[in-house]
Symmetry: C2
Subunit: 347 residues, 2 copies
DNA sequence: TTGTAGGCGTTATCAC
DNA sequence: GTGATAACGCCTACAA
């Protein structure tokens, strides 16, 4: 029964196995400098006693905490309205686990709190590296971290806003092309986008990519901004539908808004996809639960998390990492999109 | 410019302010034993140098990590399909932040991994306390933690499955009564529940509460189990609707399944709420984005997280905590529920 | 191969 | 009020 109430130290193990504390340390860290016989004995005794190195002591001695930090902006609604963050955390956590790393999470009420937390981690050494998410245009966090090369960081952001920091960006530009082309091929010539907050870098990036591709293909394009909630999504939809020549397809920046769009159409008796096509950016259970099932641009966020974990570990090991791109989006065509209505096609 | 590349220690502060390191420690921890003049000087110098205590050293000396642990079961779909966990984390993190505590998160691939992580935390002292979530019936984690009183734990679970551990439980029984009564008053006499996995304690608890209240009111009640995904939710709905005398109201254990239920009804041309009422357990953006808006039993999960944080801090301080209950559910009546169809009422 | 001793950065106990 | 000094538990040269 390896259950011990009081904490057992390396000295206890040393005494019980009749060797010195350093022998124990060597044995348990798999380092040479100790005979196989002793090693086995020490390992056995350590196991029997239920010994594990004290985290704080180990961290102090090695100046390695085995922890990676993640600062989240405190906005429970934003965080929970999309599965994104939880999926990212899942992948991140699962991969870190393989290397005995843990995830240290803190909530920042605002931009200053976020900066303070980063400062804190740099000074206290409470994490070996950190992941920067939700980067905004001209984000001061980027500047702060650029000044502190001693803190390994990976930004989940487009290279254009990550500065000199290593980054992992989503294949947005490519996905926008894919999505717009898909609608174009279905005959749509007037499309709209219901985007997220303009302050977020990725909203901006998608905005311009959409505008570019649409104009390239000679399509009419318009974009409205929201705060990601279904209320603002509905509102935007109503506005779009109120225009005399309204779009024949709308792409929403998240699934909750796409669902709300579906609702607006239903309440106005507009048939989906016969009269209007609806498409969601980011796929989730919600898309397959909705009726009709929502066509979505999906990507494997869990995998992004895993990839990020791998990169962070590389950075901790001192390797250099540049600007990388996560796996491609996949267009998952479902029932909410279809050929553009005939009258529009003829135009 | 308080920016320092190399880490500054307490000795640097001591030297720069012409006192000893212990004076610095006293001054910075607000303890007596140092004159106000020295204290102010030390504080000033420390700030100028951008000094902050090294986390590992502090943890080692005080045997307090300022960290609270949370083990999540690795199932990205389950984690992200519901906003629950992210909301809990938000509240938890925000409250902990106020007391300079952080959240340490680890992912457990299975039950054994979960036990191993708990064991690890007990032995390494990497967290000051931990939160136990998703407790199952006869959960071995509960037993393990009961044996280790030295590790403060709070179980987010019904008192009946938390054993001797302090617990914070949801007001499920009361909410079930509220929900069933609501449907009863609308004239429903045949209701069904689409529940989550039977292994989860709270599924079981809701199951029996439903059965009790329904029989008490003389209603017909039946229950099907799922894995929380929309696919199994749809399937269950189809089965329920295939019965000759099918229920006039269905309550789903989460919103994604309720949404799927809405979809099944729409696809079969069954009108909601005229022909069938649909209700969701747990409210989220999805409920107000759906069409018709879903009636839901809502609760403030973020607040539960905050409450949990407060209790954990108490436990860390050595206070005793028993079995507590979180705030009540709120029935948020929306468009997806209505009077039972006439033919049913007459029966 | 083994053991001894010093260091990691703080805190806390002592004499002064 | 102040300043050495010993923990805290582990790692790792360096000696034996």
């Amino acid at each position: 029964m390896p259950i011990q109430k009081s904490k057992v130290t390396i000295f206890d193990v040393a005494r019980a196995s009749g060797v010195s504390s350093s022998a124990v340390s060597y044995a348990l860290n798999g380092k040479s400098g100790v005979s196989d016989v002793t090693r086995d004995k020490v390992l056995k005794v350590a196991h029997e006693l239920g010994w594990k190195p004290n985290g704080a002591a180990q961290a102090l001695a090695k100046s390695k905490t085995q922890r990676v930090g993640l600062v989240l902006g405190y906005d429970p609604k934003l965080l929970s309205v999309e599965p994104y963050m939880m999926e990212l955390i899942s992948g991140l956590g699962a991969e870190l686990e393989k290397y005995d790393y843990s995830l240290l999470v803190r909530m920042a009420v605002d931009e200053n709190a976020k900066l303070a937390i980063i400062d804190d981690w740099i000074a206290t050494g409470n994490v070996d590296a950190m992941l920067l998410v939700n980067v905004e245009l001209g984000d001061p966090c980027v500047a702060l971290l650029e000044e502190h090369e001693e803190m390994p960081v990976l930004a989940i952001a487009d290279a254009s806003v990550a500065g000199n920091l290593p980054s992992l960006s989503s294949a947005d530009a490519d996905a926008v092309r894919q999505a717009v082309r898909y609608l174009y091929d279905l005959g749509h010539r007037q499309i709209a986008r219901v985007g997220g907050p303009e302050s977020l870098a990725h909203s901006y990036i998608r905005d311009s990519a959409f505008a570019d591709v649409a104009s390239e293909l000679g399509m009419r394009y318009r974009c409205l901004h929201t705060d990601y909630t279904p209320e603002t999504g509905s509102e935007a939809t109503k506005r779009l539908l109120s225009f005399p020549e309204h779009p024949t397809a709308i792409i929403y920046d998240n699934d909750v808004m796409a669902l709300a769009g579906l609702g607006v159409a239903a309440s106005q008796g507009i048939k989906v996809p016969e009269e209007i096509s609806i498409m969601s950016w980011d796929d989730s259970f919600m898309c397959t639960a909705a009726y009709p099932n929502l066509t979505a641009m999906g990507r494997d966020v869990v995998d992004t998390g895993k990839q990020a974990a791998g990169l962070l570990l590389k950075l901790i090991d001192g390797e250099r990492v540049g600007h990388l791109m996560e796996g491609p989006y996949e267009l998952r065509a479902r029932a909410s999109t279809g050929p553009a209505p005939a009258e529009e096609k003829m135009r």
